[in-house]
């Protein structure tokens, strides 16, 4: 890979805490290598700010390999930036060229209040899972793993849905700030599996109810969530969720 250095202008959302008003701050960074990751570029910025005696920019991150779902930047109007099927931490600077201006904001949704700068509170996702995103099996209750064969296709579909990293990009990308893609991924993960059958109806109804309670918007089939999802969680999961929900509520036998 061809390697080069660049100077960039960053417009970054700064907000002291949940209550304070926020604003954009403009920074210049120099000598950014095309081999850096986007977050390493932010490391450079923060080191520079600390050296200047200023406050660094707060942002969430942990694994830096696209799996923990912690990183969450809205970059030039796109959740996790321009690359397809990608998290912020896996975006690399070879995407940019010398002189570019990059605008960085936090996820924006009522259900994700800002904690500081680019850091938001996503506890609402945990609450949705608490409402039923599990199979009720206590430790020690399990039968031999191979006593329950599962069609490979179903296991693969279940895995594809379970690959969701709970980052919230789907919510940030959605004009309605809906959490349907996240919720549907969890429902589908468990609904494809025979183990998930017993609690199937209750699960979907309770989780949908909890999502509404958390203040997420409703789904109007725009599809921005799927387009920005770093893990390629498909809209088909939402279709599946709707079917599950219909069956659960229509039968009326909850």
């Amino acid at each position: 890979m061809e390697h080069y250095n660049m100077n960039l202008t960053l417009k970054v959302w700064k907000q002291k805490n949940a209550k304070a008003a926020g604003r954009f701050e403009t920074y210049q960074v120099k000598g950014i290598s095309s081999e850096m990751s986007f977050l390493e570029m932010f490391d450079v910025l923060n080191e520079q700010l600390i050296a200047e005696g200023k406050e660094p920019v707060a942002f969430d991150h942990d694994c830096r390999e696209g799996i923990c779902g912690m990183c969450s930047m809205y970059i030039n109007g796109r959740a996790h930036g321009p690359w397809h099927h990608n998290t912020t931490c896996q975006l690399h600077m070879r995407e940019y060229k010398d002189g570019d201006t990059i605008v960085v904001e936090p996820w924006r949704a009522d259900a994700f209040p800002v904690i500081k700068d680019l850091v938001v509170n996503r506890n609402s996702f945990d609450h949705i899972v608490q409402a039923g995103g599990y199979i009720s099996v206590n430790t020690g209750n399990a039968q031999d793993a191979n006593s329950l064969p599962i069609e490979k296709q179903k296991a693969d579909d279940s895995f594809a849905a379970a690959a969701c990293i709970g980052c919230g990009a789907c919510v940030a990308a959605c004009p309605n700030a809906s959490a349907m893609l996240f919720l549907s991924a969890k429902v589908a993960h468990l609904a494809y599996l025979p183990q998930g059958d017993v609690e199937r109806k209750e699960r979907v109804v309770n989780m949908v109810h909890q999502m509404d309670k958390e203040g997420f918007g409703s789904c109007t089939n725009i599809g921005a969530c799927e387009a920005e999802c770093p893990k390629g969680i498909s809209l088909e999961n939402i279709a599946k969720l709707n079917r599950e929900y219909m069956v659960a509520t229509f039968a009326g036998d909850r």
């Binding site: 290598s33 390999e65 779902g69 191979n146 895995f159 183990q195």
Partner: protein, 658 residues
């Protein structure tokens, strides 16, 4: 205090069964009034918190991320071992036990490892019941692959995202207990001290990372499940936040630290690309099932990989270790890569890399596909295309990750890889019941020193974390808590809580008031460089002595010149980091002391003075067949205690993978 490992008497293969049927129990009514604190929600912590909640204990669980689902376990890629023998290839509890003891270069406890192998099968059952979507064959049954240091296929996996799927399973069980009111979850909280009353662990001081406030929490017992300390090297495959603080505070409160110098350097990671590097990315060991590792036969060969003909390539692992080939254990593979690069055969711009090549596997799988589909007259290009699809189905996410980071397509050119710090076998010393030397204080998962000896085999950390949390602690903790049922919850205005909080408060303020000139990050980087250069893949007496001096000097500099922006009572990631790096510096010193003390080479601990003529690790069983358990005695003062390792069943021999 003499070390008592509390290993039950009796035959190795009946110890655990016997223990389980004779240990003390706590009845359901009493469980409801007993509180347990769990630090960490990775595989070890989440499985423990969920299982203890299910049993009826009142659990408080803590993690520093914004959700328990994001613990570092989420990043584990390759798989989890279990002695199921589903492949009918000769696996058994004994073989998993034996492979683990041998892989650990005879520095682990037989009783613990045997128990681990015994419960390994239950883990897979439990995870499948929770809905973990492991990879399956067309017949609907579970699929397996191989990992290093074994000759059977016992690794269960979910593409390259096994840790994610296992953790989501444990997380969901945990959230279920939260919903039922049995577990209270404290995310974005960092434990900063253990509170001891009358010698027993009785609670913690934690900092709310959003508001900066210090909180006191009581528990009849405290479980440290805070993960490993590989980030002492600054660059490692660990998540950025992984740290030693919880374990280190426990150590300073009296818990001995076991084998701190035992570090695992993983052979297949994406090489460092420049000074800006903030972490290193693993390319799972599972890739060694199909990838072949090589360097050019010629030194300083500047040709591109694809321009080097087959007979000018040195498949050095296959050459040196024909029996295990590319699947030798990690320590062996890492040293072999270093040896080739140091000798001038390295590849890539930095020359600090070797190739991991999938061309042969792609061709092989392509041909198998052609056979399966009964096709005829298929062009080589089509065979390769089909082969690539098979490889993508096995390792797709890893290949994508590689391409995002390096900008190179590993389906077309071999990956460049180099060893990197990955895992720490050392950790808090625990007895058979997973209790540290502080009564009521336990350590689970990577945070304890337990089962992997001097080198961990691939896919065994996930197994151990879940064994500890699902199947060991629910029994062993009862044996302690049965005698605590009369202890009422201790109010947190108790003088011990007040004093502990004050100490934490003072330390934080001291840090904030230094107002020096150097950032936490740059001091951490400097620590990492000392550790990597002198306490890394190869160590020697002189280097370790220098490292200790350098770390002491760095510690002084840290405490007189660190600069932490912002304020105490707010969300302040720089302060969080400073708290962690301060502890890493103290740990680094102890690691070097331990490495200096251990005048032998074993597993991941390679002392240059102790090697065979072929450059293999040379153990000194007569002098070092022990666990080094260090007691904290004050600033830079540590006292060594030895737990002799007794091998009743396995006979330690020189490890050979030839």
């Amino acid at each position: 205090m003499p070390l008592n490992n509390r290993i039950p008497a009796g035959d190795l293969d009946t110890k655990w069964e016997k223990y389980k049927s004779t240990c003390k129990l706590v009845n359901p009514a009493n469980k409801r009034s007993i509180e347990i604190i769990v630090i960490g929600t990775g595989l070890a912590g989440a499985s423990a918190a969920a299982s203890l909640g299910e049993l009826g204990y009142k659990v408080k669980a803590f993690c520093f991320q914004d959700s328990p689902r994001r613990a570092h376990s989420i990043a584990a890629q390759g798989g989890i071992n279990a002695a199921k023998n589903y492949q009918n290839d000769g696996d058994s509890v004994y073989r998993l036990f034996y492979d683990t003891i041998k892989g650990g270069d005879y520095r682990a406890r037989e009783a613990n490892v045997h128990r681990l192998a015994e419960v390994s099968g239950n883990i897979i059952d439990q995870c499948v019941a929770q809905g973990v979507p492991f990879a399956r064959e067309y017949g609907g049954l579970l699929s397996n692959r191989s990992f290093g240091g074994t000759q059977v296929q016992r690794t269960f996996y979910a593409a390259g995202q096994t840790g994610q799927q296992l953790l989501i399973g444990a997380y969901q069980s945990l959230e279920r207990q939260v919903a039922l009111g049995n577990v209270t979850m404290y995310s974005r909280h960092e434990m900063l001290d253990i509170v001891k009353i009358d010698g027993k662990a009785r609670g913690i001081i934690a900092r709310n990372l959003v508001t900066g406030e210090l909180e006191r929490h009581f528990g009849h017992s405290v479980l440290i499940c805070s993960g490993g300390y590989g980030n002492v090297f600054y660059l490692s495959t660990n998540a950025m936040g992984s740290n030693v603080t919880a374990a280190w505070k426990a150590h300073k409160q009296g818990a001995y630290f076991g084998n701190p110098c035992f570090t695992q350097i993983h052979p297949t990671c994406i090489p460092v690309s420049g000074d800006h590097q903030s972490k290193l990315t693993l390319m799972s060991e599972s890739l060694r099932n199909d990838g072949r590792i090589w360097v050019p036969k010629k030194q300083n060969d500047s040709r591109k990989a694809n321009e080097i003909p087959a007979d000018e390539r040195d498949y050095y692992l296959e050459r040196r270790y024909p029996a295990f080939g590319n699947l030798v254990p990690r320590d062996v593979a890492s040293r072999a890569a270093k040896e080739r690069c140091d000798a001038g055969y390295g590849v890539g711009a930095s020359k600090q890399a070797v190739y991991l090549d999938f061309a042969a596997a792609i061709l092989r799988y392509g041909k198998i596909e052609v056979g399966k589909q009964g096709l005829e007259h298929v062009s080589e290009a089509d065979i390769i295309k089909m082969g690539k699809e098979v490889v993508a189905s096995k390792y797709g996410n890893l290949f994508e990750m590689y391409e995002k980071i390096t900008g190179e397509n590993p389906y077309e050119v071999p990956m460049r890889i180099y060893p990197a710090v990955h895992y720490t076998m050392g950790g808090l010393w625990v007895d058979y019941e997973l209790m540290t030397t502080v009564p009521g204080l336990y350590a689970l998962g990577e945070a304890n020193f337990s089962d992997h000896g001097a080198n961990r085999l691939g896919a065994s950390a996930l197994m151990q974390g879940l064994a500890d949390g699902y199947f060991v602690i629910p029994y062993t903790i009862g044996n302690y808590l049965a005698d605590e049922i009369r202890t009422k919850s201790i109010p947190t205005d108790h003088p011990a809580f007040v004093a502990a909080e004050k100490e934490v408060f003072d330390r934080i303020n001291k840090l904030m008031n230094i107002k020096g000139t150097e950032s936490v990050e740059s001091l951490h980087k400097r620590l990492g460089k000392i550790m990597w250069d002198k306490c890394g893949m190869a160590r020697n007496e002189k280097g370790l002595q220098e490292a200790i001096e350098e770390i002491r000097a760095l510690k002084k500099e840290f405490w007189s010149n660190v600069r932490i922006p912002g304020e105490v009572n707010e969300f302040n990631p720089e302060l969080d980091k400073a708290n962690r790096v301060a502890d890493f510096i103290e740990l680094g010193e102890l690691m070097c002391m331990d490495a200096l003390n251990r005048n032998e080479s074993c597993g991941g601990h390679f002392r240059e003075e102790y090697q065979t003529e072929e450059g293999e690790a040379l153990r000194q069983d007569d002098k070092f067949m022990y666990v080094a358990a260090w007691e904290y005695k004050g600033d830079s003062q540590f006292e060594l205690h030895k737990e002799e390792l007794v091998y009743d069943v396995v006979h330690p021999s020189a490890r050979s993978y030839k």
